[in-house]
C-alpha cells in the first residue's frame, strides 16, 4: 500500500458507494428538500405580496374612514353651532317676549289702578256731595233749591279739585 498510488479496490468501492449515495440522497434528500425550498419561497413571496396588498387596502380604508370621521366631526360642529345659534335666538325671543308680556301686564295694572282711582274719586265726590247736602240741610233746616244746590256743589267740587 502506497500513499500516492490509487488502488483499484478503493476506486471501485468509492465509485459504488458514491453512486449509491448520490441516487439515494437524491431520492430521500435533495429532491424533496429543493422542492420544499422552492415551495416555501413561493409561499413567502405570495404572502409578502398579499400582505402588501392588504396594507394598501388597509391604508385606503383608513384614509376613507378618516375622511368620514372628518366629515362627521364637521357636521357635528355645524349642528352644535346651529343649535347654539338657535338657542341664542330662542333665548332672545323669550326675553323679548317676556319683557313685552311684563310691559303689557304693567300697563294693564296701571290702567286698572287708574280706573280704580277714578272710580274711588267719583265715589268720594258723590259721597261728599251727599254729606254736604245732608250737613247743609241739618244746618239750614230746609232743602235748598236746585240752583243753590248746584252752586254749593260747584264750590265744594272746586275745593276738591284743589285737593286733587
Amino acid at each position: 500500500m502506497d500513499l500516492m498510488t490509487p488502488e483499484g479496490g478503493t476506486i471501485f468501492w468509492t465509485a459504488v458507494t458514491f453512486v449509491a449515495l448520490l441516487v439515494i440522497l437524491t431520492k430521500v434528500g435533495w429532491k424533496p428538500i429543493l422542492k420544499m425550498l422552492d415551495e416555501r419561497e413561493r409561499t413567502i413571496k405570495e404572502s409578502l405580496e398579499q400582505a402588501q396588498k392588504a396594507r394598501i387596502e388597509a391604508e385606503k380604508t383608513l384614509a376613507s374612514q378618516s375622511e368620514i370621521l372628518e366629515a362627521a366631526r364637521k357636521e357635528a360642529g355645524d349642528i352644535i353651532a346651529r343649535a347654539r345659534q338657535s338657542a341664542q335666538e330662542a333665548r332672545e325671543e323669550i326675553v323679548v317676549k317676556a319683557r313685552s308680556e311684563g310691559d303689557k301686564l304693567l300697563q294693564r295694572a296701571k290702567r286698572e289702578i287708574e280706573l280704580s282711582r277714578d272710580k274711588a274719586i267719583e265715589e268720594i265726590r258723590d259721597l261728599s256731595v251727599d254729606l254736604a247736602m245732608a250737613a247743609t240741610q241739618k244746618l239750614i233746616g230746609k232743602t235748598l233749591n236746585k240752583e243753590d244746590h248746584q252752586k254749593i256743589i260747584q264750590e265744594s267740587l272746586s275745593e276738591l279739585g284743589d285737593l286733587n
Binding site: 500500500m1 500513499l3 500516492m4 498510488t5 490509487p6 488502488e7 483499484g8 479496490g9 478503493t10 476506486i11 471501485f12 468501492w13 468509492t14 465509485a15 458507494t17 458514491f18 449509491a20 449515495l21 448520490l22 439515494i24 440522497l25 437524491t26 430521500v28 434528500g29 435533495w30 429532491k31 424533496p32 428538500i33 429543493l34 420544499m36 425550498l37 416555501r40 409561499t43
Partner: protein, 272 residues
C-alpha cells in the same frame, strides 16, 4: 512540497522501523494511521482487490449517516424547519444560492444533486477523520481521484448535453485563431482540463493528510524526547492543529464543491 512531505514521512517510517528494533516506541503510527488498512479480506476480481479497507468502511459509515440524517430530519414536511432539518437546510440553501446558482444558473437544478452529495460526503468524511478511532477516507488518493473523476465525467456530460458532441469538441479549439495553431491549442486545452481535475484530487487528498501528519508528527515529538516535561508544547500545537483541521475539513469540502460547480459551469457556458 507534497513530495517532500511524503518523502519525509517515508524516511521517518524507515527510520522508525529501524529504531523500533531497539525500542518499542516510534513514529510508524504516522504512516500506519494514514494508509488504508484492510478490515475484511476479499478476493481479487478482474485485477481489482475488493478488500474492504477502513477507508471504505468509513465511506459506508458516512453514507449511512448521511442517508439516515436526511431521512430523519425531513421525515415530515414542515413549513418552518427546526433543529437538524434547519441546520441541514441552511447548508443546502447556502450551496444552492451561493455556489450552484451563481456558477450554473438555471442549469444548476440538474447538477445540484451531484454537487450537494459531493459536498456532504466530503465534509463528513473529512470530519470523521478527526474522530478518534476514525479514518480519513478523503485522505486516500484513490477516494479523491474517484471523486475528481466523477466531477470530470459530470463536466464532459454537461458540455455534451448543452452543446452536442460536435459543439462540445469544437470548444477545445478556441474560435478566431489560425487553423495551424490548433496543433498547439488543442493539446494545451486538453492538458489544462486534465490538470484542473487532477489538482482537484490532489488538493483534497493533500490537505487531509497534511493535517494528520502534522498532528501525528507533533505527537511523536513527545516520544522522541522521552520526557513528560516537553509534552505541554506539542499538546498545545496539536490542539491548535486539530482546530485548524476542523476548519480545513469545511474549507476543502467547500473548495471541492465550488470548483466542481465552476468547472461544470464553464462547460455549459456559452462560448466566450
Amino acid at each position: 512540497m507534497l513530495a517532500l512531505l511524503v518523502e519525509k514521512v517515508a524516511q521517518g517510517h524507515q527510520a522508525v522501523e529501524h529504531a523500533s528494533e531497539h525500542s518499542g516506541s516510534g513514529t510508524d503510527f504516522i504512516i500506519h494511521d494514514i494508509l488504508a488498512r484492510p478490515v475484511i479480506k476479499l478476493p481479487t476480481v478482474l485485477g481489482i482487490d475488493l478488500t474492504i479497507t477502513n477507508h471504505v468502511l468509513m465511506m459506508w459509515i458516512v453514507s449511512a449517516l448521511l442517508i439516515f440524517m436526511f431521512k430523519y430530519a425531513f421525515r415530515k414536511r414542515q413549513q418552518v424547519p427546526r433543529g437538524l432539518a434547519n441546520a441541514l437546510e441552511a447548508f443546502v440553501l447556502y450551496l444552492r444560492d451561493d455556489i450552484i446558482v451563481p456558477n450554473l444558473g438555471e442549469a444548476g437544478k440538474q447538477y445540484a444533486p451531484y454537487l450537494l452529495t459531493a459536498f456532504f460526503f466530503i465534509l463528513l468524511s473529512n470530519l470523521f477523520g478527526l474522530v478518534p478511532g476514525g479514518a480519513t477516507a478523503t485522505g486516500n488518493i484513490g477516494v479523491t481521484a474517484t471523486l475528481a473523476l466523477f466531477t470530470f465525467v459530470m463536466v464532459q456530460l454537461a458540455g455534451i448535453r448543452k452543446k452536442g458532441l460536435v459543439g462540445y469538441l469544437r470548444h477545445f479549439s478556441p474560435p478566431g485563431i489560425p487553423v495551424l495553431l490548433n496543433i498547439i491549442m488543442i493539446p494545451v486545452e486538453l492538458i489544462s482540463m486534465l490538470t484542473k481535475h487532477f489538482a482537484l484530487a490532489i488538493r483534497l487528498f493533500a490537505n487531509m493528510i497534511a493535517g494528520h501528519i502534522t498532528v501525528l508528527a507533533l505527537m511523536s515529538v513527545i516520544f522522541f524526547f522521552r520526557s513528560w516535561l516537553i509534552s505541554p508544547f506539542p499538546l498545545a500545537l496539536i490542539i491548535f492543529s486539530s482546530l485548524l483541521e476542523i476548519l480545513i475539513a469545511l474549507i476543502q469540502a467547500y473548495v471541492f464543491t465550488i470548483l466542481s460547480a465552476v468547472f461544470i459551469g464553464g462547460s455549459v457556458a456559452e462560448e466566450h
